[in-house]
Symmetry: C2
Subunit: 344 residues, 2 copies
Amino acid sequence: MSTASTQAAPGRATRADVAKLAGVSTAVVSYVTNAGPQSVAPATRKRVLEAAAALGYRPNAAARSLKTGATQLLGMVIPDATNLYFAELAVAVETAAVAHGFDLLVAHSHSSREREAQLMHSFTSRQVDGIIMLSTVADQSATTLGATKTPFVEFGCNIGTPGGLAFTVDHRAGAREGVKHLIEHGHTRIGLVVGPEMAGIAHSREVGWMDALADAGLRRGPIFRADFSRAGGLEAGRALVESAAAPSAVFVASDVQATGVIRAAHEAGVRMPDELAIVSFDASPESEYTWPALTAMQQPIDEMADAAVEAIVRLRLSEPAESRMFSTTLVRRASCGCPPSVAQ
Amino acid sequence: MSTASTQAAPGRATRADVAKLAGVSTAVVSYVTNAGPQSVAPATRKRVLEAAAALGYRPNAAARSLKTGATQLLGMVIPDATNLYFAELAVAVETAAVAHGFDLLVAHSHSSREREAQLMHSFTSRQVDGIIMLSTVADQSATTLGATKTPFVEFGCNIGTPGGLAFTVDHRAGAREGVKHLIEHGHTRIGLVVGPEMAGIAHSREVGWMDALADAGLRRGPIFRADFSRAGGLEAGRALVESAAAPSAVFVASDVQATGVIRAAHEAGVRMPDELAIVSFDASPESEYTWPALTAMQQPIDEMADAAVEAIVRLRLSEPAESRMFSTTLVRRASCGCPPSVAQ
DNA sequence: AGCCGTAGTGACTGCGTTGTCATTTCTACC
DNA sequence: GGTAGAAATGACAACGCAGTCACTACGGCT
């Protein structure tokens, strides 16, 4: 096999080509592209820039990374982009990353720990400058990351995982506030639709539900467990409306599930919010377009995304960075029973 | 500034470290990791693998790319992941890419041509092995790509763009079939909610709507133009239900828009499908959870994703590859008026 | 003994870049 | 006219890897 066959396709302009065309040395080209240590005369800079444009020159990222040790690439893992909440978060993180000069490599774990581990390998192999993980399976910064020294940030349930930083919403307090709102509407029998018990997020939201009921001295309504998915919500919703003593209100731990619950109620001819009031969590775009529109606890997604990227930037600079917990906001719409005048 | 400060963080194991620990030469390590040209004795291979595992060695992708000229990275541009159709497609492409040993770098254009152009620069700079573009703005393979020799594939409206390959659904035929279904339900006055005129996809679907009406000798109902978004659909839907002679059925050019139209109908107390029957396009996951569930033209997303990645693989091997057009399938649910027994 | 094939060696090149270094050329100011 | 300082030079060393090349060592086979 000839050596040539293992080389890159020809024709891509290199720094030397630009230098030649502009009539300068290769060092000057680098000075221009990277605001180098030496100043470059405006006229020369212009010549270089023109030559680069004429040749369609783009510095080879692989060579640059090899030299500088930085890739300007961040890796992010989400379970599944067809869950709008995750999609929104990924878009927000991308925006924040781009603002800091990074590209974002998003990969889907499909909630598989094996795939998550694979992805960590892939990311470290690609020498990403930071990793942002959103896992519904479990915290694993410490375990999987192991020897890696890559800045690591988690959107998760627990603050202060040993290995890295976590940015999360106060799931418990949020759930508590949502349920409290239902109580203020006069409901006394309030059910819960929530994710699998092993998911930390689900657990926190469940505890928040209990908190609010305890605050009001109310007994706990029935609990329905299902996947964090539309189908899971549908299943749980059907069980709810068919149950002997169905609650008059339900707190649903996520928008996607709430979408399914609403469908189940419609199927059974249950009127919302009169016969079944609903408050859910996330307030993703789709929650505004259900019928009735969902009252939900909104997460400050953009803020969280900014904070995560900022933290990675700081970690890279060896500056101190801290985990943070954000609070949610109640978005009143129709599903809780608020009048249209209050609802958005 | 010392040289050291521009180097990568220390501690990451290199090939030489592995070779030393395994007591072999560096070449052998490469032979093992890449199924090199020389065979390696099983015992030696095992020693190398163990050493690599012990050190947590991962070949540096930048160095490897620099040497081989391939990055095993594909770039994909989508307008916006919070449109579930795009999110689904991105996930499908990722799955197909991973099956071929590539990672997928997804970026969002937010339907901005400038951002699209930026992304093409970023991608070529990163030396991606292929680019997959989904643009609602216009075809631009020829223009933007210019001198780039990177394999380029488009999910779009037009087959046979000069610069590259296109994989698309037969929007026109799909729309025609959807409208035909409404006609079969006895509707004679059928409106259209469609995207901006400049979007090629919107145009094709509009023509399909006209086709079906012409086939049946029906006059064209009113046309409502709006963004390809939930908000756009809501706006169009409001205009529709408030119009003097509202149609009894409407073909909506996308699920996201249909979500808004349904909401508008609910707000106005218009019963679906009795007073307003709806057929839409895409059949994304959310279309199954609206009330009523949407009858829609389904795209073979997985097939399209596979075909696109496969085409890139072929192009890289200088094998012939062809553009392809896929057909859609009518998914009967409730919004068209089909009885529950037929509806899924 | 002679020979062949397999397994492994160790030194080396080049991928495109960044940034250093010692030196030279140019410009402007006194 | 002399000189300081800025601007530019050209050569060079990495970065980590793939893969080549010319060899050697060691069996087993005839």
